[in-house]
Symmetry: C2
């Protein structure tokens, strides 16, 4: 007898559930079996809009879905604040749990959920997708390669995204009562996971947040990125990439536009441009008796000022140091 | 009468002087006129090895070069600890100064150098090359574009390089008596400059160093880089780049090898891989009565633990928070 696919029930019709329900349908060993919303019409419309099989069960409450004996596993895309209640109940109903991240508002809540899972013999997994990408396994092979990579020293993980005014006003991740961890629980979760992943999940001894996390009340539009800013890879040309209002496709399975790469062809290497600029300023002074330019020394001095302040901060036990120009 | 090129004197035969003297020769308005070392043979060999014109003046002391009335400008590649003495003397001899960075050991020294330059009407410029690259101007156009880029929020600037055992033992940048600022004055200078550059050279109000700067007594070999780790640009493939012992060409004008790009083609999107993995674990429990797997909840919990610690650190005024698992 062939194995039956694992039958998923989905509780909550969040935007992210569209992507994950498609994934459930595409996975060779899983199927969407039921969907629940607090409003039965919403659940029915969600099933229809996302092409669920016609025999998908539609429930008007999460409880009734959890009582369905044919549901094997539950996908839980609810806001974080609701995870504790619904994950524990799901476990008690002996359903396995695939839950959106962050799993809980804190470790104490997490441990209550985990205890319920262990007591009821159910599997729990959080919905961090990138760790399952085949690319991630290939990258890990590189990190594990003592010859090619060596020893892990530093991980620099950034997560930025373009949030439009609607997101910043209405998304659950900006509502403290729904997603109390906000950007830390959302983007922060990924950055933390990536550091742990690179370190073979060895926990750090201590953690220090960087000062002045800001609530981005107004978003910005673009990003600029380059990897060879000090010395360009090649002398005759140099590139950088830009993104403007980067976004994802409808189901958030890829990007609606790729960053655009810009290549600048150069006649003279950067150090020659530097000498030319310097010699040109010197010539003005020599020929015309002009005063030395103030732009470059001012820039140098500012760099030195900040350098001094960084050193002072190190010397003062990593306290903030005021810049006095 | 055509303008004569600016005649450079070079004091010190540092490795970096090879690159910059080539740049001086290539610049349309500059020429290498003289070179000085504390050892006249060293200066002569340096001139020969780097293809300086046969009529280049060779000096066995910095002072004698500075006394040459035909030297317009001096390129100063000496260790940072020697900058104050020699930059001030150069200015007093009415020679313009192109100096390696960091300009000085601190702002107090910097201001002494600047004062000498101002009193003697000479130009000073530091040797930060990348700001002179045409790419940098193009990137700035993007940053200035309110439509495409918007408002600057964050700059994330990393500078890593592969330092072989010889560098870590012998380079002047690891000798406190020669380059007392070490990596901060070298790599740090560039990172600081890049932040100032992006911010139109507006000084920050405060600066806080990140804890635990480490002296890398042992280097590592490789770097791994990707820009779309959460959601790959495209569903059917994903890329990353690796470098192993990256290095520069002989004159440090480009890279001896480019990072290599690796593309992974995928049959199933990452979220489908995730569901498949989860469903497979659930199936094992259902069919074989096995215990739920512990790997994924352990990883989730560690992520949550670190997330909690970050939040605690924010709440405690950005102090370090110990991780207690």
């Amino acid at each position: 007898m062939a194995d039956l696919p694992i039958r998923f029930g989905i509780i909550g019709c969040a935007e992210i559930a569209r992507k994950v329900s498609r994934a459930i349908q595409l996975a060779p060993n899983a199927t969407v079996y039921a969907v629940a919303s607090r409003n039965v019409d919403k659940a029915a419309n969600f099933a229809k809009a996302n092409g669920f099989p016609p025999h998908t069960k539609i429930y008007g409450s999460y409880e009734s879905l959890l009582d369905d004996p044919d549901v094997d596993a539950v996908y839980l895309p609810l806001p974080t604040s609701l995870h504790l209640k619904w994950a524990v109940l799901t476990a008690q109903k002996k359903k396995h749990i695939l839950t959106e991240k962050p799993v809980a508002l804190n470790v104490a809540e997490f441990d209550q959920i985990l205890k319920a899972c262990e007591e009821n013999g159910v599997q729990i997994m959080d919905g961090t997708m990138w760790v399952h990408h085949p690319r991630t396994h290939k990258m890990k092979e590189f990190l594990n390669d003592k010859e090619r990579f060596g020893q892990l020293k530093t991980v620099n993980s950034c997560f930025t995204f373009f949030a439009d005014p609607d997101f910043l006003k209405n998304d659950i991740r900006v509502k403290p009562d729904l997603d109390a961890l906000g950007a830390l629980g959302d983007a922060g979760w990924y950055g933390i996971r990536s550091i742990l992943w690179a370190a073979d999940y060895e926990l750090p001894k201590t953690v220090t947040a960087i000062r002045h996390p800001v609530l981005n009340e107004a978003g910005t539009s673009g990003t600029l990125h380059l990897t060879d800013f000090i010395i360009p890879y090649q002398e005759h040309e140099a590139s950088y990439t830009t993104s403007t209002k980067p976004g994802f496709d409808e189901l958030v399975t890829g990007w609606s536009q790729l960053p655009s790469e810009h290549t600048v062809t150069v006649d003279l290497p950067q150090e020659v441009c530097m000498v030319r600029e310097f010699a040109s300023l010197v010539r003005n002074i020599k020929k015309k008796g002009t005063q030395p330019d103030k732009k470059w020394p001012t820039i140098s001095r500012k760099t030195q000022l900040v350098l001094d302040a960084v050193k002072a901060s190190i010397d003062k036990g990593f306290q903030p140091v005021e810049i006095v120009s």
